[in-house]
Each structure stands twice: as C-alpha cells, then as structure tokens.
Point group: C2
Chain length 139, copies 2
Amino acid sequence: MATRAELREELVKAGIRPSVQRLAIFEYVRQSCQHPTAEVVYEALCDELGSLSLTTVYNTLKLFVDAGLISMLTIDDTFRCFDGNRCCHAHFRCDNCGKIVDLQMKKDFLSLVEGLDTYSVNDAQLYLKGLCPACKNKK
Amino acid sequence: MATRAELREELVKAGIRPSVQRLAIFEYVRQSCQHPTAEVVYEALCDELGSLSLTTVYNTLKLFVDAGLISMLTIDDTFRCFDGNRCCHAHFRCDNCGKIVDLQMKKDFLSLVEGLDTYSVNDAQLYLKGLCPACKNKK
DNA sequence: TATATATTTGCAATGATTTCAAAAATGAAA
DNA sequence: TTTCATTTTTGAAATCATTGCAAATATATA
C-alpha cells in the first residue's frame, strides 16, 4: 500500500504533473481491487474533490494508461475498466454476476507465445470468462 | 477449409436453423483470417445476399458466439471483431497500424493460471499489444 | 505582477451496438 | 395446397460509453 507521497513521486517520475485531481484518481485506482470504471472513479471522488468532471476522469485515466502506470481492461465488451495492480495476473469475468477477479499466474504470459521476437510488446492481458465458484454452485 | 455443407451441418448440430443469411455469415467468419467486424461482414455480404440488415449481422454473430461457434475479440476498445479460428491462439494488435494477427501458443493458456479448479471457464483470450515487426522497423 | 502554458470543466457530438415493431420466410397441421 | 403459428429478418430510432471542443481555471515563469 503506497503512501500519497510515493504515488505523487511516481507521477512526477513519469513526467506527469501531480494535480489534485490526478493524484486522487491515481490513488483511487491503485488502491482499489475492484477494477473500477471511469464512472465509478468519478462517483467515488466527486465529494472528496468538491468538483470533478467526468471528462477529467476519462482524460486522466488515458494519461495514466499511456504512461504505463495503470492498465485498461476490455474484458467486458460494454465498458472499460481500470486496474492499478502492477503484478502479472490474469482476469476472470463471471458471465452470471459480472464480477471481475484477479487470478495469479504461475509464469508470465509471454513465455507461452511463439514468434514474438520480432514484435515489441507493451501490454498483455489474459481474460477468462465463465462462471465464478459462487454462481457455478447456484446453477 | 470446410465446405458449405459441413458448415451447415455444424449449425444444425448447434441447434441453429441454417438460414441463407446465417450460413453466409458463418462461412464468411470461419474462412476469414482478418478478424472482421460486424460492419465488415455486412459490407462483404450485402451484394451476395441481395438484401441484408446490419442488425441481422449483429444478432447472428451474437448467436454464434453464444453457441460457442466463433469467438468475439475485444482487443480493440472501440469495436468488437470476430474470429472463426477454433485453434488455441493468442492475438497481437499493433498500436500503430491497428492490424490484428494470430500468434501460435506453445501450450494452452489455462495451464499457467492458478486456482482455476473451482471456476468453470467458457472462454479464454490472450491479447498482446505493441508494435508489429513492420511498424517497429519504421520507427 | 503580468503573461504564457497546462489543466479542468461541462455540454454537445460521436459512433458502435441494441431495441423494437413490422414484414417476410419457414414449418407444421389440416 | 392452404392455413396458422413460429421463427427470422429488416430498418429506423434509441442507447450510452466515450470523445471533442472551447471556455474557464489553475499553475509556472519571467
């Protein structure tokens, strides 16, 4: 769990000026285990920041993704969500309840892919879908 | 390369009535290596079928995905595309030219994921992004 | 303090996808 | 074949997450 000062430092190192909004959004996404959408981030920070624009949230999240500070998930085809967890992990989305959970990896994804030597890889996501344990038992 | 009769049979086995539109759409997606969008499928088949509705294409592709006959890719966050290749493979999307290519896998994805025993997995997609060989060299 | 630059804001626009109800096609029964 | 019910297709309108844009605000520099 990083402190606010550490997160601020991380933004500066990435060449991003740590405005109040940016730091709050960065902190929220980094601390959350919920893979929030832009809308969720907006709702969560609106009060704390007094005023906040949904556009700012979208712009800022894009800024962070482009800087490699967080990642964007497209595991749900109707909305994007964001992930501040920097460890290599896969995602599982339950077709029934919609919950998205992290799954540990035994090894990095890339070790399994052939012929990658001539490519330059910036991002890798492994998405699994089906039924989570709880929903599986209900059926 | 499956024949039209084989594809028809496959639809029937899946409990899907092989209408003219469905068979044409199924054949197109199964034979294509281009990961077409609904729009692309629509444009490609409009003439051949005389009349075709984009809504039919969307509905039919969803029908096939739900039946497990093809898969839907969300590797590009602005549109969905579809994949008729049933072999286990990963996808690479070039950030520069947008092209999506298949990559062979040494082993199945799932072998690398921990704690999956209590889940029921229906779909798995590994998405890689970065620069393809051609775009990498240009920079 | 003045001035330039970077950031935020809110509303309008975008565009892929879905909804919906009518029209057409198909299958079963008579 | 004719009739009737069911399934499929169609096209136009609606949806909604995301982006564009131009004005307002905040911050850095001279």
